[in-house]
């Protein structure tokens, strides 16, 4: 006789959380915290902010757990909606500040960009690709960025993304289409300076 271990659903965990079971809260946290943290990280590019947002999301869940209505959407969409609210508030707060770039970091980034064409494999490494994509995503406007992050990086369906963002499914589709087009443009634009730099470098060598 085989006993199948069943994973409790989000609704079941919620009921147990309301009853005061800490284990249920921990289980739900471990199930959902990674996605929330990564969403905030992809939206802000800051681990500190991502940590704060994650904490705020689960504190809000703890505080207003009875406000969640499963008939209106999934728990994941609900949590992402809370995270989005905190992220946008954080972005609005930090909009007035200009990040101070470290000279070493700038130099390293330039070296990486210049080193790529000199790669004997002639292709981007996986790490470079990921880095460039992340930079391009972070450069998107917020309302395009959140759709790209949810639908592409978190593989969320259009419906859940629409629930989390509080908009129509068609809006999600159109924003995703436009956001992807902007990403392609930015990645292509990022590729162009590398080609130019390679040319300049080659010229210097000849000089």
């Amino acid at each position: 006789m085989t006993v199948l271990a069943t994973t409790p659903s989000d609704d079941e965990l919620l009921r147990r959380i309301i009853a005061g079971e800490e284990d249920a809260f921990v289980a739900l946290y471990r199930r959902r915290s990674g996605g929330i943290y990564r969403f905030a990280l992809h939206m802000c590019g800051s681990e500190a902010i991502a940590e704060d947002v994650t904490q705020e999301v689960f504190m809000a869940l703890m505080r207003d757990i009875k406000k969640f209505d499963s008939s209106r959407g999934s728990l994941a969409a609900y949590l992402y909606g809370i995270a989005r609210h905190h992220v946008l508030r954080q972005l609005a707060r930090d909009r007035a500040f200009v990040p101070m770039m470290n000279g070493d970091e700038t130099e390293t980034s330039a070296c990486e960009l210049l080193a790529a064409p000199d790669d004997p494999l002639g292709d981007l490494t996986r790490r470079e690709t990921v880095g460039r994509v992340r930079e391009a995503v972070l450069a998107l406007p917020a309302h395009y960025r959140e759709v790209v992050v949810l639908c592409e990086l978190h593989e969320m369906s259009y419906v859940d993304a629409a629930t989390a963002l509080g908009c129509a499914v068609g809006t999600v589709r159109s924003r995703l289409h436009r956001g992807r087009a902007m990403l392609i443009e930015r990645l292509r634009a990022a590729e162009q300076p590398r080609t130019d730099a390679h040319t300049i470098k080659t010229a210097r060598c000849f000089a």
Binding site: S33, I36, L41, F58, M62, T129, L153
Partner: protein, 298 residues
Amino acid sequence: MNCQEFENVVTDLARVSMMDAAAREDGLGHAAGCARCAARLADEQTLTDGLCAAAAVSADTDYAPAHLEATLRAAFGARVEVLSPVAHAFAPRGSRSMVVGAVAAVFAALVTLVGWNVLRSSQAPPLKPVAQTPLANGSVPPKNAIENREAVSLKDVVGKNSVGHEDGVNENDVDALQELSSARSNLKAIATGRHQRFARAGLASGSPRGESVEEPSAAPRFVSTSADEDSIATEFMPLTQGGELSNADGGQIVRVEMPRSALVSFGLPMNMERARERVKADVVLGHDGVARAIRFVH
């Protein structure tokens, strides 16, 4: 399918998401025959690959720090501890309606108490303005409190002394309470008869406070004295030059008899047929022997 229609489905083609099979075939067919759309599709597929790689790397490396879980667990435990006593306190009593009923009962009791106080204060006769005789130690005798002791309530005294806060309580309330306490002391002294002489003027123990001196009424009225419940007396009428009762440094009250015709000089009615009779009066004498005020006793 033309290029415009291809643009509408290129994202779904690149993401390999669920879409209509016929639309997929048409889109791929169009890309095979259109170099521009084929390049567009290739860019989209490259982007999809990059995004998938970024998602995979992020899923492997980006996690919420471990201390965050500990913090939230502690917060959850604290929240449960806070909420539990409340739940346990109401749980044995059964239904929620009992709690609501208890709260309603307390509220009804409070409303009844407040309403009874308001009704009681509204039924109490207003405090009549009466003249107050200067005391020997410079304080105002609580004569009104003595003569209308049934009418004097805490609210009356407080309301009288509170400026702009009839129902409120401010620093004057303390004074009012002290004044009321003084009045009660006077009543006690009168009852024992130890200070009968001063008690008639409300000077028995002397109020420690009472800075204000009210003007005597223009038409003196008779009120019953406390010392002798059968006799009635007018209010004290000032005899000083200014016509006001000033806070004398001291003095005493002397019961005298004088011709009834003296009532006329104070504006009191007099029966001419009884002009020869004598009337009793209390005269307040200062230390200098000068009469300060007078009241007639019948």
